[in-house]
Amino acid sequence: MSAFSGGFSWLADGAHWHGEDGFPHRIAQHLGYTALTVAIAAVIAIPLGLWIGHTGRLRGVAIALTGALRALPTLGLLTLVVIWRGIGLTPPIVALVVLAIPPLLAGAYAGLEAVDRATIDAARAIGMTEWQVLGKVEIPLAMPLILGGLRAAVLQVVATATVAAYIGLGGLGRYVMDGLSVRDYPQMVAGSLVIVVLALVLDGLFAVTQRAFSPQR
């Protein structure tokens, strides 16, 4: 228990709340990595997912691909990209994008698949083009599941962005890595607690947003 109470004292220490090593700066870095990662992953995965969901093509490939991506260990992938590209922002972002693609892709194509076929047929019957069917019928109806995928991606990335600290970048992983290396468990607990709180806050925000986008009943 001492590591836990030590973690809370570490958090409460005002000295840990300013400067480059302070929580505000580390939280901002952590959220920055998360936002960049999810943005890149969304640009790749959501259009692909929508296309798969709309056309029904390559669905088997998508399922196999996302399954395979999920099985890739992030830290191993990070090391691989470091050997290829050297240290910097690229390796953790690549590793995290690979982590974020499966839930985003799955959310997008599953969301479109869940739309009632009769509704889509009705949209076509009243003369909508394929783009109109996608934009005015399928995407709005699929929005809760697309947002669900986004929510899962953000949560996974925010919890895993700690790996950036492994190769000398910042973020909340710094506390975990620095604490571990000198057996400063209170520091590790404090860093972990902030990550947990950050994840819960983001999850709460998504819950509210998702409800706002749900079809009115």
């Binding site: 228990m1 050297g86 240290i87 492994y166 000398g168 290396s181």
Partner: protein, 319 residues
């Protein structure tokens, strides 16, 4: 929470021990040369002590050293086996204390700072003396034998080009470089052999520090060879130092504490016969031996640690 974790480790150790015991039998019978020494000198050694299980940490060098200890002991008729991959120091010191293993290849400096975090000794003799004292007062069940000349310790490395460009031979020569950047494990920032030591022993300040948590592994080496950092902390027996033609800087002021390989043994498993075997191993073990052993182990053939160890023992007339 700690107790639960230790219990899990112990339970896992027990299971692994059973497996290890099964696994070592074929090795014993297949090595025909074991028979003669076992018959001639076996009764003296094996009669004096019970089975000796040699533990090792989850990295190649530790595993090879454990196989070397076990192989040398077996060659002299002791009932020795290995138990690899125990984990970090907390775990294997615990395993030594509860008797699930009897012997472990340790490093003097790191073991000293683990037992006595306030220790300040850095030269090989000082570290060894301080270690014996610290063990006697804090871990009376354990003791260390004579250390080998072989050292695996943090070492500051630069690329051959960078060394030539700035005429670098020792850490002291880094003082003249402005805006020096350095990659190492995160603890380098606060440890006595790290950033504080560079200032205290060599007057080097203003180092731009990049923490990379892979203990001088591929990411650290890549940071150095790609020019992202000027200096990298890599363990002195890592095969990548030779493979990348890196220049290891001398440490004339002993900023980095000595890390001689030393057998750490339970006192109830220790006796003059065991000492004789392990001291003979330590007498032959040099830093160059470790470099070669690691290079072979990391080489393209990916041999087993036990085979690398067996070859070395044979080459040195110890088995």
């Amino acid at each position: 929470m700690k107790i639960t974790r230790l219990a899990t480790v112990v339970a896992a150790s027990g299971l692994l021990l059973t497996l290890a015991a099964c696994g070592s039998d074929p090795t014993n019978t297949s090595a025909g040369s074991d028979e003669t020494p076992a018959a001639s000198s076996g009764s003296a050694g094996a009669g004096a002590s019970g089975p000796i299980v040699v533990g090792s940490a989850p990295f190649g060098e530790s595993e090879i050293l454990a196989e070397i200890y076990a192989g040398a002991l077996k060659a002299k008729g002791f009932d020795a086996s290995t138990h690899p991959d125990i984990g970090q120091r907390e775990a294997y010191i615990g395993a030594l204390k509860d008797g699930s293993i009897q012997l472990f290849p340790e490093y003097t400096g790191n073991l000293l700072t683990f037992i006595d975090p306030s220790a300040t000794a850095t030269s090989p003799d000082d570290v060894n003396a301080a270690l014996k004292e610290a063990l006697a007062s804090k871990e009376p069940d354990l003791t260390v034998l004579t250390p080998a000349a072989a050292e695996d310790k943090d070492s500051l490395n630069v690329t051959a080009d960078f060394a030539e460009q700035h005429d670098l031979h020792s850490i002291a020569d880094l003082k003249s470089i402005d805006g020096l950047s350095l990659a190492a494990n995160p603890e380098f920032k606060t440890r006595a052999y790290g950033i504080p030591g560079m200032e205290k022993f060599y007057g080097i300040t203003g180092v731009k520090f990049t923490p990379i948590g892979d203990s001088g592994g591929p990411a650290t080496v890549k940071a150095l060879t790609s020019g992202k950092v000027d200096v990298a902390d890599i363990y002195s027996t890592t095969s990548s130092i030779a493979a990348n033609k890196l220049v290891t800087l001398d440490d004339p002021e002993h900023m980095i504490a000595a890390q001689n390989v030393v057998p750490l043994i339970r006192k109830d498993a220790d006796n003059p016969d065991v000492d004789a075997v392990l001291n003979a191993v330590s007498a032959k073990l040099t830093t160059q031996s470790l470099l070669e052993l690691n290079a072979t182990f990391d080489g393209p053939d990916k041999p087993k640690a036990a085979d690398v160890a067996a070859d070395w023992l044979k080459d040195n007339g110890l088995a």
